[in-house]
Amino acid sequence: MIAAKAQRLVVLDANKCVGCQLCMLACSSRLTHVGPAKSHLLIRSAGGIERGFVVVVCRACQDPPCARVCPTGALSPLPKGGVRLSSSKCIGCKNCVDACDIGAVLWDEELEKPLICIQCGYCVDFCPYGVLGVEAL
């Protein structure tokens, strides 16, 4: 399921997030392995859930730092922002994880590869509270 249009995921209002992680489960279920741990976005508490949640999604940067630090060229920047992962080139060094200041490069513990969001927006429809949206690039 590759996004057809040039679009990116946006957080409309993190304050409404209840931490249900339905978005994470939905993301993982696009493929064959289900589980929030295989999601390309992450919902975590903002230092204790009484303070609400941090909704960590890839911003589809124009000049993506993750791609710049990749030693093998496994991450290629897209013309309008964001990156694509070419899994066969990736050696699992985790440079990209460290390079992303917002922590949006998540890690697949089973495959030892990064989880790179493809901005498809599948998760958006699963959020019961309208926290997530997509916008055209």
Binding site: V18, C20, P36, A37, S45, G47
Partner: protein, 587 residues
């Protein structure tokens, strides 16, 4: 890999030897699904007859089920252990992130046995366990602080659960609870004291894995259907005002226990209602995998006495049972007062229902002169929440003999100081807040865990009251209760939230299971529910529990319900019938 194989790993931890190992228990997960079904079997294997609930021979079993974290509202972890309050096998359920973390650590259950000689906490990551020293955390005044420290010290944010006890658990208050993610609990029957007796301060589980779904298309379809129902009328009440929505209707019905069940109506109900609390509502939260977000937090803003331009804002979770136990049942109608009492039990880590009922008994015992202020230290008076607040801390600190006994539960307190006729408990467990009628009270006497959730029989009473229908004979009532309790064993084995009981009818359950490769029909599920029901009750009988010995608090018979007075004869006949039936079936 089959789904059963996928979910059937059991992690065993021995706190005495500081060892751990993982076993695949497909035998159990294929026969008993998961959750309560499997947990009861693990309990049978691990806990010897005559075990001291607070001795190293007791074991803590935590289990999740086949739907956990992959279907909406499949968001409960089932704990089973021997209760220090009732002395028999006990059960308590909790949500938060625990089920998803356990499941995606790759586990179906965790068994913790033995006892550590010094305070420890455990970090489970996948199949690996680290034993960490808890010397710094032990004795901390607030369980919230413990959570904060662990949150900052450990990895896995968003994919982990942090279960911990407060001081109440450390000091073996028999109704201490285990707090999860700050606002969820293994609330009832004293799991916190069992943690404390094992010197286990906290259990952190980090789940970073995933599972291959056998029939992904069928799965997505079943998931979408169930999600739609879960977001609709079936859960509307929990989604909107939350369980606090019960306060006003129960009060109107005359079923809201007030001042130690002296009345079913509370003149201050309005100010502790879900509607009123809306004014302080600050945040909504959900368990992982659940769209409902029934968890409601209220903010209290408080001025410092010494610095009048300084304020602190605190968030307090509220639910119906807490508003009854620390509100109406103590005569507390001050909105902020109730919230502050909730805050205290949250910090200390104890069950609000048991603590509230114990204080209600103490208030009445003081009024009647069975005890004096020497015992209670503070003057306990209906509605005086400041006094109750101090008293709650005393239950934990146990500055005198009286509080040492009160920490053992209302049964022990009344047998020592008198007032058994107004000590509210069934087999040692203090009741939740429904004085709806005979079916409810019968269900507390004969339920597997003596809990309102065993069969939700308050709902049956309410139904009878609103239909103005005849109350069934006790034998028929036992049948109705047993049948509901049996079906709930299926739900508790899948480990779905009971607030989703109208979402997961037999049709939805079979559909969900089919997409994961199970071939279980509705009839087979029903049979399974009955078998688990029987297993639970047979274990209790083998531990020496005699239904006939359950005392009926006189108070229950003296205060009218919406269905009139409950009679001793009705309850006795029901208990007798239950005892005969269960013994016959168990043979």
């Amino acid at each position: 890999m089959s789904w059963v194989k996928e979910i059937s790993k059991v992690l065993y931890v021995d706190l005495s030897k500081k060892t751990f190992w993982v076993e695949s228990r497909e035998d159990l997960f294929s026969k008993w699904l998961g959750g309560i079904g499997v947990a009861v079997q693990l309990y049978k294997e691990e806990v010897p007859k005559g075990a001291d609930p607070l001795g190293p021979e007791n074991a803590i079993v935590l289990a999740v089920g086949p739907l956990t974290a992959v279907f909406p509202m499949a968001s409960k972890t089932i704990s089973v252990f021997k209760s220090p309050l009732t002395g028999t096998m006990a059960e308590s359920h909790a949500g938060g992130r625990a089920p998803a973390a356990i499941r995606f650590a790759g586990l179906g259950a965790i068994v913790i046995k033995g006892a550590s000689e010094r305070p420890v906490y455990l970090v489970v990551e996948g199949e690996r366990v680290r034993f960490r020293d808890a010397g710094t955390l032990w004795g901390m005044r607030s369980a919230e602080t413990v959570g904060r420290v662990l949150r900052e010290a450990l990895p896995g944010a968003g994919l982990r659960t942090i279960m911990r006890i407060g001081r109440a658990g450390e000091r073996l208050v028999r109704y201490a609870n285990v707090i999860i993610e700050t606002y969820r609990h293994f609330g009832r029957m004293g799991l916190g004291a069992v943690f404390g007796s094992k010197k286990l301060k906290a259990l952190v589980v980090i789940g970073r894995r995933s599972s291959k779904v056998p029939k992904i298309r069928e799965y997505r379809e079943a998931y979408a259907e169930i999600l739609e129902v879960a977001r609709g009328a079936a859960t509307k009440k929990y989604h909107e005002l939350g369980t606090a929505a019960n306060v006003l209707p129960l009060n109107k019905l005359g079923a809201l226990p007030t001042r130690n069940f002296l009345s079913g109506r509370f003149e201050g109900a309005e100010s502790i209602s879900g509607e009123r609390l809306l004014e302080s509502l600050s945040r909504r939260l959900s368990c992982v995998g659940c769209p409902v977000a029934c968890i409601h937090l209220a903010a209290i803003r408080e001025q410092y006495e010494d610095e009048k331009y300084f304020y602190k804002v605190e968030n307090v979770p509220y639910d119906y049972e807490l508003l009854y136990a620390l509100g109406s049942n103590l005569g507390v109608s001050d909105t902020v007062g109730v919230l502050k009492l909730i805050k205290v039990v949250e910090e200390e880590g104890m069950d609000a229902i048991s603590a509230g009922v114990a204080l209600a008994w103490a208030t009445e015992a003081l009024e009647r002169g069975l005890i004096t202020k020497e015992h209670t230290i503070v003057e306990l008076k209906w509605g005086d929440w400041q006094a109750y607040s101090k008293s709650l801390h005393y239950i934990v600190e146990q500055p005198n003999d009286f509080y040492k006994v009160l920490a053992l539960g209302v049964r022990e307190a009344a047998s020592r100081y008198g007032g058994e006729e107004f000590a509210l408990h069934y087999n040692g467990l203090e009741p939740a807040g429904y004085h709806t009628g005979p079916l409810y009270h019968l269900s507390l006497a004969i339920g597997g865990r003596h809990s309102h959730l065993d069969a939700g029989a308050y709902g049956m009473d309410e139904g009878l009251a609103s239909a103005k229908a005849r109350v069934p004979e006790p034998e028929e009532a036992v049948r109705l209760i047993a049948s509901e309790e049996s079906w709930r064993q299926v739900l508790n084995s899948l480990a779905v939230c009971l607030f989703g009981r109208r979402v997961y009818g037999p049709g939805a359950v079979t559909k969900a299971l089919r997409s994961l490769g199970y071939e279980l029909g509705e009839k087979e599920l029903e049979e399974l529910g009955k078998s688990i029901y029987l297993e639970r009750h047979t274990v209790k009988l083998s531990e020496g529990f005699r239904p006939e010995d359950v005392k009926i608090p006189r108070r229950v018979l003296e205060t009218p319900t919406p269905l009139g007075f409950v009679t001793e004869e009705y309850l006795r006949r029901g208990i007798q019938h239950f005892a005969e039936t269960i013994r016959k079936q168990g043979r």
